[in-house]
């Protein structure tokens, strides 16, 4: 019951935010340079044709009518058209979303797999070499622009060492994508036993996901470290030491389990970093995801994909944070009562 109240309270905060988000994206669309009708018609048509197109696209209507249509469109899954590809943005999105999803999940996995142990070790061995290394990695990770890290990785692993493939998409040349089940090449090739595609997909994924993963590892390691420090001082951990329970079990079992709760809360922030970093990393590695799609659209002043991308990311961000809030309330009953 308490959880239901908590759920409704959270939901009542999310709805105005969602309205605000659409208002902002709508406003941005409205003032975006380049009349969409002119962009769609091309440069060689007469003003009359443009007028006609404007009418067709509803651009001559007052702003609030257009906003109503905009919301109506979103609710029906209509994100407009890309002026340059001439296809519905939603279609383009569907095609590119798996690539973005695969990269994001792989990066998150890397960040967690490296960040959590680093945070734990930094806390357990406080003020020793490991802790200092962890701090340096954290400080540097936050200060390095993702595009630069990506280029550095390319230079070292592709140009100098030749162990990474050319940054040209999700699969090596001449390799067919696995039979589509989830759209994630790594998962699909595993499910269908297509080892050639699996190897190539992992190889291609290596540098971009490492670049993105390292950039978001720092906040995770930092959070794990500071909560672990607190927990290691707590009575129940001291009791566990005193009872002679093996070291590893105390640290990675009892202490870490409790340290994970605050880590869940920063996953929302991490997700925001990932979405932002994604766009840049995708463009560095020519990764065919939605971020790259939006940046390409940016260059051609194709407003459809840009606003849809921004809207999509914001909606996703709000929903992810909402879910994280709920999870947090579920795991930690004290939160619900606040």
């Amino acid at each position: 019951m308490a959880f239901l109240a908590y759920f409704l309270r959270r939901l009542s905060l999310v709805i105005p935010t969602l309205v605000g988000v659409t208002l902002i994206t709508f406003t941005l669309t409205y003032v975006l340079p380049g009349n969409p009708a002119v962009v769609k018609a091309g440069p060689l048509v007469s003003p009359e044709v443009v007028k006609e197109l404007e009418k067709q696209m509803g651009l001559d209507q007052p702003a609030w009518v257009q906003y109503g249509r905009y919301i109506g469109g979103i609710l029906h899954g209509d994100l407009g058209e890309s002026a340059s590809t001439g296809r519905p943005v939603l279609e383009d999105f569907k095609q590119r979303l798996p690539a973005t999803l695969e990269l994001t999940l792989a990066s998150l996995l890397i960040a967690l797999v490296l960040g959590i142990p680093l945070g734990v070790q930094s806390a357990v061995h406080r003020d020793t070499a490991i802790d200092h290394i962890g701090r340096i990695v954290g400080v540097a990770g936050v200060a390095m622009p993702t595009f630069w890290t990506g280029l550095l990785a390319l230079y070292v692993f592709f140009y100098l060492l030749g162990v990474a493939p050319a940054p040209l998409g999700r699969l090596g040349p001449g390799i067919d994508p696995p039979h589509a089940i989830t759209g994630l090449y790594v998962v699909d090739s595993l499910l269908t036993g297509n080892w050639r595609a699996l190897g190539s997909a992992l190889h291609q994924l290596m540098l971009p996901s490492l670049t993105l993963g390292l950039s978001v590892m720092a906040p995770i390691a930092r959070m794990v470290r500071s909560t672990m420090l607190e927990i290691l001082e707590s009575d129940y951990v001291k009791a566990a030491w005193a009872a002679g329970i093996p070291r590893r079990r105390v640290i990675y079992g009892d202490a870490l389990a409790n340290a994970m709760i605050p880590v869940i809360t920063i996953l929302g922030i991490v997700f925001g970093f990932l979405m932002a970093g994604n766009a840049v990393v995708e463009s560095v590695f020519a990764w065919p995801g939605i971020g790259n799609y939006a940046i390409t659209a940016l260059m051609t002043k194709d407003s459809g994909p840009i606003q849809s991308f921004v809207l999509f990311v914001a909606l996703l961000y709000v929903i992810v944070n909402f879910v994280i809030d709920l999870l947090y309330g579920l795991i930690d009953p004290r939160i619900r009562l606040e």
């Binding site: 105005p16 902002i24 936050v142 630069w148 550095l152 230079y155 592709f158 940016l298 921004v310």
Partner: protein, 297 residues
């Protein structure tokens, strides 16, 4: 590590004694002093770029095209034979100006609105905070990208866009600080003796709310720089031949396959060093000014 004990009252306001204490603490921390010196050096070099830079930023030299770092060109040259070091120094003007300008603008607007919210509360607070929630619902870089695209491709618009994404941080911070401080005894005392609301705000509340804001602003400088560089890396804001660290890195990217590493490495390194410096200073300031955040690294 802390030699002052946090008092139960708010952190001290900023008169000279505190400034000197900050300096004393910073001085003991050689890393922060180094960071501060690095920023000062970069800012000075950028400001005096015309005199300091060994070459004109757009001076071409076909004979020295794509020269590796060496005696004549410390950081090498690009395909037109333009000196990379000179270009990086000149680019620093744009980068530091935008980072500083965006931070200052966001600070000004965020604090002003924060004060209004602090004074009026109620419905004003409710409406403005919903707006803040909406702006914060976007990952900052994505929003800055969308705003720049919407306003038009120019450096001024990049500055504006970064400022807009940062305003909510200050607004939220100053609002919560003011709400906290106004419940303190000294704020009550100021009210009891009959001070008008504006006087309490500007003499008693605002100065005491400043320390965490200053920390936030220092850290935000680094973030603004990163956003700026990333925006121009993807082609927003800067128009060639004007140089900026992010766009220079983008130009250098195409030479990776032919092995001219200095073209992408050094402009990016300039960003890293500056952001690192701002973050180090911000962290030290936080340790000093904001006892509550101590130990959270």
């Amino acid at each position: 590590m802390a030699d002052i004990t946090p008092s139960s009252a708010a952190p001290a306001p900023f008169p000279p004694t505190t400034a000197r204490l900050v300096w004393r603490r910073l001085r003991r921390n050689w890393l922060s002093v180094g960071a501060l010196a690095l920023i000062a050096l970069m800012a000075l070099a950028a400001a005096l770029a015309g005199w300091v830079a060994p070459y004109e930023p757009d001076e071409t030299d076909a004979a020295a095209a794509l020269a590796a770092p060496g005696l004549h060109h410390w950081l090498g040259t690009d395909i037109y034979g333009r000196d990379l070091l000179s270009r990086i120094i000149h680019a620093g003007r744009v980068d530091l100006t935008v980072a500083f300008g965006a931070t200052a603008l966001a600070l000004l607007i965020g604090c002003s609105v924060g004060v209004v919210v602090g004074l009026y509360r109620g419905i004003v607070d409710l409406v403005i905070m919903r707006c803040v929630d909406s702006v914060m619902a976007f990952p900052a870089f994505i929003l800055a990208m969308a705003i720049t695209a919407a306003l038009g491709n120019s450096v001024t618009n990049v500055l504006l866009a970064i400022a807009i994404t940062q305003i909510p941080n200050y607004l939220r911070l100053i609002r919560s600080e003011i709400f906290r401080i106004r419940e303190m005894e000294y704020a009550d005392a100021a009210r009891v003796v009959g001070n008008p609301a504006w006087r309490i705000m500007f003499i008693h509340l605002l100065p005491n709310a400043l320390p965490p804001i200053i920390v936030q602003a220092t850290l935000a400088m680094g973030y603004a720089l990163l956003t700026m560089a990333a925006l121009s890396f993807i082609g927003l804001g800067i128009q060639p031949p004007q140089s900026e660290w992010g766009s220079m890195t983008a130009e250098g990217a195409q030479y990776i396959v032919t092995g001219e590493w200095w073209l992408f490495l050094f402009p990016g390194l300039a960003i890293v060093l500056m952001v690192l410096s701002f973050n180090l200073i911000g962290d030290s300031l936080r340790d000093f000014l904001d006892p509550r955040m101590r130990g959270v690294r």
